[in-house]
Assembly symmetry: C2
Homo-oligomer: 342 residues x 2
């Protein structure tokens, strides 16, 4: 079966790989961000390259593990620059731009002779106008297939100051992926559960960040304003989706006068405009409970296969053996091909 992996993380080997694209004073101030707030508590060795460097830094090793052994036909690369951590919007925008240059020169060109890698344009949502310019700069790149930004933010994503980002994504038909990152850290009290005490609480709460942003996007009418906009909610699960949409659709019936720009049930915008990735899918004791919940909202049309390689929790296509056979071609490849026009 054809497999497109929609959540693969690649990293620079060292800070110099990014610094070469940064002018001063940003170069001087740059360091590779590591999560000192909610550090992961379980380590993996499986994705460490033979030279002992960081996971996701060695193209030969990544191609062997992900492309050859797992049989992935195309991998959508999501660099994790975590630029939303910065108080200074210029530092954030410059680093986003440097990551884009780095990705283009390395994983999308020199490491990409077979064209199996597709890239994401990193943006900093602190300055939406600058982010829109960054999107414009890369929109014609043959291997950049989407835009990526972190969920950690100071306001939910439906609010108006973000609209230059959506306008640019819609204009260039670039889907916008939102990925967990910096939630509850530094300036980013939102969207998150605030300041959890442990990594487990923080990690399980990604699904709540996603719901906060989704609720905001749907009630603010973003998809009515930007009919070409598509978004992907990465790494936040999906089993919560029916409950949220049932609640929202139900209350919309009584309260739609408050948001008159929303002209149809919120769940209809969702189905048209929003996609989700499979990893980590919620896993009940009985697989059938999950597939029943997925079927309630035709989630087989909304899900994109994702491994989260090379993180410790990374998944394999085999982990989804329990899905109904009718779901698999859509989830493993068809939905992604349609979304990214691959």
């Amino acid at each position: 079966m054809e497999i497109i992996d929609c959540d693969v993380h690649v990293y620079p080997r060292n800070a110099e790989e990014i610094k070469r694209y940064l002018p001063q004073p940003w170069k001087h101030r740059f360091h590779i961000w590591s999560n000192a707030y909610y550090a992961e508590k379980v380590e993996t060795n499986r994705t460490v390259p033979p030279n002992g460097a960081g996971p996701g830094t060695d193209p030969d090793f990544l191609i062997r593990q992900l492309i050859k052994e797992e049989g992935v036909a195309q991998a959508i690369l999501l660099p994790r620059a975590n630029v939303s951590i910065h108080h200074d919007p210029d530092q954030a925008a410059m680093e986003a731009s440097a990551y884009n240059n780095w990705l283009s020169d390395t994983w999308l060109t020199s490491h990409n002779p077979d064209g199996v890698f597709k890239g994401s344009i990193t943006i900093a949502h602190q300055d939406p106008a600058a982010a829109a310019k960054e999107i414009e700069k890369w929109a014609d790149h043959p291997h950049m297939v989407q835009v990526i930004m972190d969920t950690g933010a100071r306001a939910p994503f439906g609010q108006r100051h973000y609209y230059p980002i959506y306008e640019a994504c819609a204009r260039y038909r670039l889907p916008l992926a939102v990925h967990p990152g910096t939630d509850g850290m530094g300036v980013n009290i939102l969207a998150s559960q605030g300041y959890p005490s442990h990594f487990l609480e923080w990690y399980a709460g990604f699904s709540l960040s996603m719901q906060v942003h989704l609720l905001s996007l749907l009630t603010e009418g973003v998809f009515e304003r930007f009919p070409e906009l598509k978004m992907i909610f990465v790494e936040g699960g999906i089993a919560w989706l029916p409950a949220l949409m049932w609640r929202l659709d139900q209350e919309y019936k009584g309260l739609r006068s408050e948001i008159p720009w929303t002209k149809q049930m919120p769940s209809l915008y969702l189905k048209e405009h929003v996609r989700f990735t499979t990893h980590p899918l919620e896993r009940p004791e009985k697989d059938g409970d999950l597939t029943d919940v997925l079927a309630m909202m035709n989630c087989e049309d909304l899900l994109l296969y994702a491994s989260n390689y090379p993180h410790q929790y990374c998944a394999s296509p085999r982990d989804l053996h329990f899905l109904p056979e009718t779901f698999k071609p859509k989830i493993f490849a068809q939905n992604a091909k349609q979304l990214y026009r691959l």
Copy 2:
């Protein structure tokens, strides 16, 4: 069928009814709080008493509508003092205490000849030690059956500074209800989705506030530390519960070394210690989808019937006609009788 209504709101007729229990300077500073941030956008006339006063202020009218017409045998009263809005913890604690005096003298005594009304001890979570004293003061009251606090807070409820509240609730075997209120307002950025733009977004987001607090309580090990503590999550729905617990249980397997005080799957603590109210239940197009989801976690053992009377969205037992017959005795009365020892 016997019906116990676990979410009925009563209000003072005017500020004087509360002020008489407040010493100066708190009396001078008191006013009945009205939600100027996310005001409800739909009005109801049905629960306005014949004298035109505020809904939930007239005992004769409430008894006629709720007890006689709906056939409710006992009503758990939850005053909505919204004391969590205060920056000043003393103002909050004094107002909570005044509301308790008022509730005891009126709805639990002079308005309660038949004993159909049971009350909630209002506390302000800004000062947990003061809240514990307030609980202790009312613990022996014959009609006070639980403690109530608002979900709007500065930190999620699993964190340690709240423990004096849980210790007092556990000691006196008083269940602790958490009710939406002041989320995203004033000092309370948590637990909420931050600062939504519209009432609909805010209201639909109650379920997210509940999940934030629940995740915190379960990962911090509150129910292991306080084995007698029971909590009720009021007005936040329940259809999201399987998805959240699947995610949390799954991640617990890999990350339990981080929270060693949690000795069993988080969902087992949940089933033992946490209850939810029925209003507003999420309502999909197909009733069967909801009952399927409820059955996945035996939610018939976790749910308490609640009308939310006299608010505009208040429900009737008839609204739950679609529930399986085997669920109804538990949800309408048995679960509440067991929890409140009625």
